[in-house]
């Protein structure tokens, strides 16, 4: 039986020095140890894995399944594209999750989830059983919605999942001639990281202003207006970057020509030297294994007290893959907060208790408008028992009055600390 096999591996791991830090907590006999699988090692999944181990004091066995050997952060990745940070600054490993917290980290792709037998099938044939499972699959792109885009991410990068795409877009920007055109396309909301595309516009424009002053940046927004921190970004677009950025609302992309780097809009065709198309997106396709109906065919509806997917008991879904509560953004910060809520709820449920009935969540997103000035948006969300969802707390949250250098320091400290909170 796979569960037994796993637990055997698990108790072997427990006897290694790596486990010594948890020795005092490993008193529960292995055969009574519930097993939680977490798929996806991003802001949601890594946080869930750590907090399940930490808060259960080692009484829950946790396996984290992630296909990439390293965590690469989307926050700060726009600065890599602009040449202000490098890949090493946004890359981390999962070592402490295993060594300090006793998470079994499996770097492999999860192929499918057998909901009846409650086990996960991994690439290579291994099967792992679970008592409860956490899915933090992030987003998958829907390039087929833009004619000519599918299969051309090398020519027309999205750079909306940090990693090789980040480096690729950086290289393309560097190779662009002075006097060239960088076209950035933003999909219709909801998408991952609402202020992210506008931040990218700002820091790319900062690079152009300092390195290729005759170049232009065309922001083609499918939406009818800037989706987050509108006044702050509009101020930068119309002020600091007025000679570089042209912002065009209601500019849905119809098709692209990867060879000629042309983008066809409803009433216009653009030729760019760099085409950066952020495609429409949906919950990571792994959630299709649950056999539940997705909201708008894209997002997972969850019970906000446990993060369990509606229609899939025992399956907790986090982060960008969820259909959001009112005003709740798809951000790494929120995924981290939801992960703690889920970890707390799972511990209670596995112990046969009722989860916390009054959870709270915070979001804070920082955006760079140049190499050092940053503006934030924040919100506090309380669970409303009547509405059965999270609602923003009236009178709380808000925006920076203006981008400033102090928040530039806070933004970098935030990036460091959230990583510590999830991985260390």
């Amino acid at each position: 039986m796979n569960r037994r096999k796993f637990l055997k591996a698990f108790s072997l791991a427990a006897s290694t020095p790596a486990w010594s830090g948890l020795a005092g907590c490993a008193a529960t006999p292995a055969h009574g140890t519930p097993h939680v699988i977490v798929i996806g090692g991003g802001f949601g999944g890594a946080t869930a894995a750590k907090y399940l181990r930490m808060w259960s004091e080692g009484r829950i066995a946790v396996t984290l399944i992630e296909r990439e050997a390293h965590f690469v952060s989307c926050p700060i990745s726009n600065l890599v594209i602009a040449g202000l940070k490098n890949m090493a600054d946004i890359t981390a490993d999962y070592d402490k999750l295993s060594k300090r917290w006793g998470v079994r980290v499996v770097i492999r792709e999860a192929i499918s989830i057998d909901m009846d037998k409650r086990r996960v099938h991994l690439a290579g044939g291994e099967r792992l059983g679970f008592d409860r499972i956490v899915l933090s699959p992030g987003v998958d792109f829907m390039p087929e919605q833009v004619e000519g885009l599918a299969g051309n991410a090398e020519r027309i990068p999205h750079a909306w999942k940090a990693g090789p795409q980040t480096k690729l877009l950086r290289r393309q920007l560097e190779a662009m001639p002075d006097g060239g055109v960088f076209a950035l396309h933003i999909p219709k909301t909801p998408y991952r990281c609402p202020p992210g595309p506008y931040e990218r516009a700002c820091v790319v424009a900062h690079y152009l202003r300092t390195h290729k002053p005759r170049a232009k940046l065309l922001v083609l927004d499918s939406n009818s207006e800037i989706q987050s921190k509108k006044a702050l970004f509009a101020h930068a677009f119309d002020g600091l970057y007025r000679k570089i950025i042209e912002y065009r609302p209601d500019s849905t992309l119809v098709s692209v020509d990867a060879k000629g780097l042309r983008a066809e809009l409803e009433f216009d065709t653009i030729r760019g030297d760099v085409l950066n198309v952020i495609p429409p997106m949906r919950a990571g396709r792994l959630v299709d294994a649950l056999g539940i109906e997705l909201v708008n065919g894209r997002w997972v509806d969850v019970d906000w007290l446990t993060m369990e997917a509606r229609g899939a008991p025992g399956v907790h879904v986090l982060g960008d893959a969820t259909f959001p509560a009112p005003t709740m953004p798809k951000s790494g910060h929120i995924a981290n907060q939801q992960a703690k809520l889920a970890a707390a709820a799972i511990i209670e449920l596995l112990a046969g208790r009722t989860p916390d009935s009054a959870p709270m969540l915070i979001n804070t997103c920082y955006s760079f408008v140049d190499d050092r000035n940053v503006a934030h948006i924040s919100s506090v969300h309380r669970y409303d028992a009547g509405e059965k969802t999270f609602l923003p707390v009236a009178g709380a949250g808000g925006l920076s009055a203006a981008a400033n250098e102090a928040e530039g320091r806070y933004a970098l400290a935030w990036a460091q600390n959230i990583r510590t909170d999830m991985l260390d």
């Binding site: 907090y51 004091e57 907060q337 703690k340 009054a358 959870p359 709270m360 506090v380 707390v393 949250g397």
Partner: protein, 102 residues
């Protein structure tokens, strides 16, 4: 198992102090609220970070700062907006939790 004992003791205290809110009993409600803060104020945040560790500060110290943020008496970029999102009772639970977990 000192941590567990502390937590259990804290739960009892919280339950006694907030008999009106059953959540404050032993579902880890105070711990869960405090975990809202550690995304930015990480437990292992290094000393030079502009986002300081909260664990180990005294309850009085934490409450004084949170109140000052909430009223605007203490200048802030974001903390005034966050502090206003929590009730007095919630801030008490958070401050008590951090003070008990140095």
């Amino acid at each position: 198992m000192t941590g567990q004992f502390t937590l259990a003791a804290l739960c009892l205290l919280a339950a006694a102090a907030h008999a009106s809110t059953p959540d404050a009993a032993c579902t880890g409600h105070a711990r869960n609220l405090a975990a809202n803060c550690t995304t930015c104020h990480a437990a292992d945040s290094h000393d030079a970070s502009p986002l300081p560790r909260l664990a180990g500060q005294t309850k009085a110290e934490l409450l004084q700062k949170l109140h000052a943020f909430r009223t605007g008496e203490r200048a802030a970029t974001v903390m005034h907006q966050i502090a206003r999102g929590y009730t007095e009772e919630q801030l008490e639970l958070i401050a008590t939790y951090f003070a008990a977990h140095p």
